[in-house]
Amino acid sequence: MTAGEVAVRIRDVSHHFGEEGETHYVRALLDTSLDIARGELLCLIGPSGCGKSTLLNVIGGLLQPSSGTVHVGNMPVRGPLPRDIAFVFQENALFPWSTVMENVVLGMVFQGVPRAEREARARKSLEAVGLSDFAHHYPSQLSGGMRQRAALARALSLETGILLMDEPFGALDEQTRMILGEDLSVLLARSEKTIVFVTHSLGEAVFLADRVAVFSARPGHIKEIISVDEPHPRKPEFVTTEKFTNLRNRLYTLLHDEIRKAVVESGDGARVAAAERS
């Protein structure tokens, strides 16, 4: 990839939580390097505790890695870059005391969008995710799927080049995930955003991604990167094709042993997960 095409350059990133010798010491990531192309949707998949969320937080500047560098464009990442990177989290990160519209506008307040533009942008992104009719509802009045749509709308309205999504559909049921996945694909086909998407679901990874980076068990590093050569927007029927099944099977084979390894050491996996969350 030429320099202009690389949105995010990750070099030899390692991260550990705690100090060596302490009880809560855990090595989350080990020597991870990756180039993320502009406009691609890259999925990070791997067993629990393999450090995928850690890597996402490092890319987004929410976490300083123990070693290694991340560059967005030509800029080294040293903290959050709200004008370049927007997040969608798995946990409901909408402010419960504000309406959907207020939540979306607030994101722009933080980023520094001029007052005059805020409402128009908010309306646009709410329409894009299909929540125009629910702009004045409170998060507690919405279903899980709708809340994640709202979170996505908030991220979209920030009009960043990069979108980082940490298992955004993880807390939702299978059917909602399916619908949201299809809608996401349609939405993103229209935009030029670079997206990094962390997921546990093999099917979701194959359906959404241009490339899938498979992580090993803790300490995580990238085992292999699989390409999914299929144009966006992905048709729902893609899931039933042989190509899809083959790709999914490849992922399964790559992942299965790693998942077993992670479960066996599941105590540590929980520690990484807890450390990532704190």
Binding site: L62, E91, W97, F110, G112, S140, L158, S278
Partner: protein, 277 residues
């Protein structure tokens, strides 16, 4: 003269009708516990009435009928309305000061993890001490006028407010702070748009508890020694063995307390709306 079988039959019908009628009434009461509650309260008042009239020396207890009838005379007693005003004013000032001080201290302590760990133990220690033991000290320092009542009220009111505000600031979901930071919010924005709105329901809960504390503090101080507040009159009526006026005055005070508590409670319900998730 009916044949025996008819008499029995008639008796049965009468019994069944009576029980159905009874059943109807019982069913209504069962469906509306409020009625039973009213009945229980009425029964209590009845007991009080009977006891006061027939069993107890009128020097010690007065029946509710007489108390209600003489409420007017309580207000007519020279100085009582003024004393009620003074007491109410003491409560209002103490509450306002408690809220202001409690909010400031609560935020100062709660917003920084270090100050929380350092000062909360001290605050909790003070909260747990029986302040009533130092009531004479308050009188010594602030005099026997309203100042000591207000001070003692504030001393009781600030602690629940501080504690609830610190809790409200502390138990914010970390993801909300991370999310705001990721969108570029600076420290002031995080406080104004994330921490502060999150803390509001706790603040109102704290105010409700604070009102209870203020009531306790001010009334304790009033009952201890008072020249201008209602404590003067409770002492007067007690020493004069005037249970009628005493009960009347206490009822008025209880009503005042109920109203004040209800106001804060309603405010809490209204402003804690988003908590319903």
């Amino acid at each position: 003269m009916m044949p025996a079988s008819d008499a029995v039959g008639a008796r049965d019908v009468a019994a069944r009708t009576a029980s159905r009628r009874r059943g109807g009434f019982a069913r209504t009461v069962r469906r509306h516990p409020g009625i039973a509650r009213l009945g229980a309260v009425a029964a209590l008042f009845l007991l009080w009435e009977i006891a006061a009239r027939y069993w107890v020396d009128p020097m010690f207890l007065s029946p509710p009928s007489r108390v209600i009838g003489s409420i007017q005379s309580v207000f007519a007693t020279r100085g009582v309305p003024a004393a009620l005003q003074v007491t109410f004013w003491e409560l209002a000032v103490a509450f306002a000061m408690s809220v202001a001080i409690g909010l400031l201290v609560g935020l100062a302590v709660g917003l920084s993890r270090f100050s929380r760990h350092t000062f909360m133990p001290i605050i909790l220690l003070l909260y747990g001490t029986p302040q009533v033991t130092i009531l004479p000290l308050f009188i010594l320092y602030f005099g026997i006028g309203p100042a000591s009542k207000i001070a003692f009220g504030v001393s009781h009111g600030i602690f629940p407010i501080i504690v609830t505000i610190v809790a409200g600031v502390q138990n914010i979901k970390p993801i909300l702070l991370v999310s705001a930071r990721s969108m570029g919010a600076n420290r002031w924005q995080i406080f104004r748009w994330v921490i502060f709105p999150h803390m509001i329901p706790s603040f109102f809960a704290g105010m409700r508890l604070g009102m209870t504390g203020v009531l306790l503090g001010v009334l304790l101080a009033e009952l201890y020694v008072s020249t201008a507040g209602i404590g003067y009159f409770t002492t007067l009526f007690t020493q004069n063995f005037d249970p009628t006026k005493l009960l009347g005055l206490i009822s008025v005070l209880a009503a005042m307390a109920i109203v004040l508590n209800e106001i804060v409670r309603r405010a809490e319900v209204h402003f804690g709306r988003w908590r319903a998730e």
